[in-house]
Symmetry: C2
Subunit: 446 residues, 2 copies
Amino acid sequence: MEGVRLSEAGILAIETYFPRQCVRQADLEKFDGVSSGKYTIGLGQDEMAFVDDREDIVSICTTVVRRLVAKQGLDLGSIGRLEVGTETIIDKSKSVKTALMDLFCQAGNTDVEGVDSTNACYGGTAAVFNTLSWMESPWWDGRYGLVVCGDIAVYERGPARPTGGAGAVAILFGINPQPPIRFEINARATHMEHTYDFFKPRLGCEYPTVNGAETLSCYLRALDRCYQRLKKRTGSTGSVSDLADYAVFHAPFNKMVRKSFARLRYNDYLTDSASVVDPQGKLSRFRDVPLADSYTDKELEKAFVNESSDLYKKMVEPGDWLAKRIGNAYTASLWSSLAAILEEKGDELVGKRILMFSYGSGLASSMFIVRVASPIGKLSSSLFIKDRLDARRIVDPEHFTDVLERKEKKYCTFSVEPAQELAELWPQTTCLERIDDIGRRFYTST
Amino acid sequence: MEGVRLSEAGILAIETYFPRQCVRQADLEKFDGVSSGKYTIGLGQDEMAFVDDREDIVSICTTVVRRLVAKQGLDLGSIGRLEVGTETIIDKSKSVKTALMDLFCQAGNTDVEGVDSTNACYGGTAAVFNTLSWMESPWWDGRYGLVVCGDIAVYERGPARPTGGAGAVAILFGINPQPPIRFEINARATHMEHTYDFFKPRLGCEYPTVNGAETLSCYLRALDRCYQRLKKRTGSTGSVSDLADYAVFHAPFNKMVRKSFARLRYNDYLTDSASVVDPQGKLSRFRDVPLADSYTDKELEKAFVNESSDLYKKMVEPGDWLAKRIGNAYTASLWSSLAAILEEKGDELVGKRILMFSYGSGLASSMFIVRVASPIGKLSSSLFIKDRLDARRIVDPEHFTDVLERKEKKYCTFSVEPAQELAELWPQTTCLERIDDIGRRFYTST
């Protein structure tokens, strides 16, 4: 580990945004008439953030950038690259990045490379990778790079609806001053495939088309492939706890993160049975489960969830709580979970390695390792994620459902004046003022 | 110029694709009942390529990759990065890149970074920039990078319809062997803004929303800003012909390219009146035209189109003919025009510099310089662009209009079996077999 080369470029600052309103999963269970615990225990989710008609992908991305810029006292002219990762498409041609240029133009900076990167929940990670490459290439112009990941995830009424969410994250990259959060060169593994596990072919409808069972096995297969590739690349043969101190996953819902970590342990077991805790040899019966069956074998899953329980608490729990309380923020999920672990652990992380797994349906996936190389106290203590989560307005499922039905009817319509009261938004939040008769969007701020 | 640093990474090979069928602009003029010359002289366009229901963005991108791979005898395992630039969105989540992974998975290579880059016609250039950065960063894994740009441009009946087009281009990047086509480091200038000159907010409709007058002035303003920035960055004070030997532009239609080159000369004139040919001082009356008026001043435009006429023939014509015959292929426009000049000039280009201007509405733009550093004879003689253009099937405007009307009705519908005869496609062309009831697309090949 000590011989590992770190990127010169890294994360200087990070900022998160989520809407001021949310619905409780326990309330949704009652409202939907499902068994108690189906969402809270079955999915492992506590609350779900959602937006009303005042917020869209441009507004939440603008807000998170404004927050970052204000908090860091950044001169917008010091940013040479801005890239957005999102799958919340409100225009098939115009990028969210160009809408964000409004802020930069006001500051007199139009010389900002980068556009939008898109593939489901993976676009933000692609944007991060692009920015890291740019910053250590001859093309770097010496300025900061900014990556914004944001999404609004909504589903039709039915079993997928409680797996929605909303959020955005802005990540500032730089080389000078030396960034505290760096990336381990050569500790990156990628796996891509052509799949239809989750996609959005219904262009005139906000909801995705999901094959629930398939997307879970695609996720786990991608996880396997990335993990095996990463271990090979880094020469790691033992447990995931030898590879990293913490782990952060793209979080469709918490139970999936739980299963994913167990799956890493299953991989560890197959490579080296001594790397897992199995004093009574109870796991040996899973050694010969055919690969294809292993993705759906409930006994196997349960056994490794149990086996990995203590390690999960230590390695994953410090970063898993934000996604449980805002839901799946797609491209923002992984990167806001990184922010969560930074807030949770602060300078305890110095010298520690965080394993990250990014997954986007369709499918694109990468696993990589981040190292906290120097103190992050100021960064982590200024995030105020928990404070803001606790300060949210909890609405009842009827209201949540009404909002989604109203948005469903208005999706892709023009000449719209949003109805939501500005007082329902956080202060200093960019929000939609109107959509004109040809679909141009105009924004204001609380 | 000799002291200029070149990128190590560069273009090893390039391949173009356009549909086998096209419509003549002169025929369209008659069909539309407009004055003779409105499209052929007014727009400067000869023919327009279009696709029927057998081809979509995935099929044309797959075909161009297959062509490149076959021609170069490439092992698909030797490609470590694949990125797509497009604004032809058939899915709001799943990238075209992941659909292309089908080819790579068949060859056993799933370790391929990169997704889709999107902002109107600029996405391909963003993908190229990303690939260049990756290849000269610590993240490069030693393999080739492949960029695919493709689009299908169609417009509602009316004045914009003849500005459609279709095409795709695949560009192979590498460092070893030393690539003949390289990029001048520091000779890149970018300008981005938030505009609504051309956008696609009608998600359930294939056609864009265009403000024709605004998009032309946005294009020219972006051109001004990039050109001025590039001249400053490279220390160039004279004529465009001092900066480069050739120039290639994103080509919405040829007259726009003509105007753009004239605009560069107008810029040259404002900087140094001695850099333009004006023996009788006829241009001096344009010196004090206010900037805002200069974009719409027809006399000014005409004067500089005349002034730049000889230089246009020398610098721009060698690369402007492909776009005149296929129309606007959006992200593929600029990069297939580069292929055109390579075919046209071959090894005459060795040691020459090509100025390139990329524009995507919304808006994102960059100007940069490519250098042909070593012989390209094999590359240029194997493109066969003109041969293929001449071998196309010319259809009448009635048929073209029928196809677009049929596609308009079927846009975003599922359970579709395409009606176009396979014999109408080029041989060895990937094409759509069917769209199933939930929108999954399946392909076959001629």
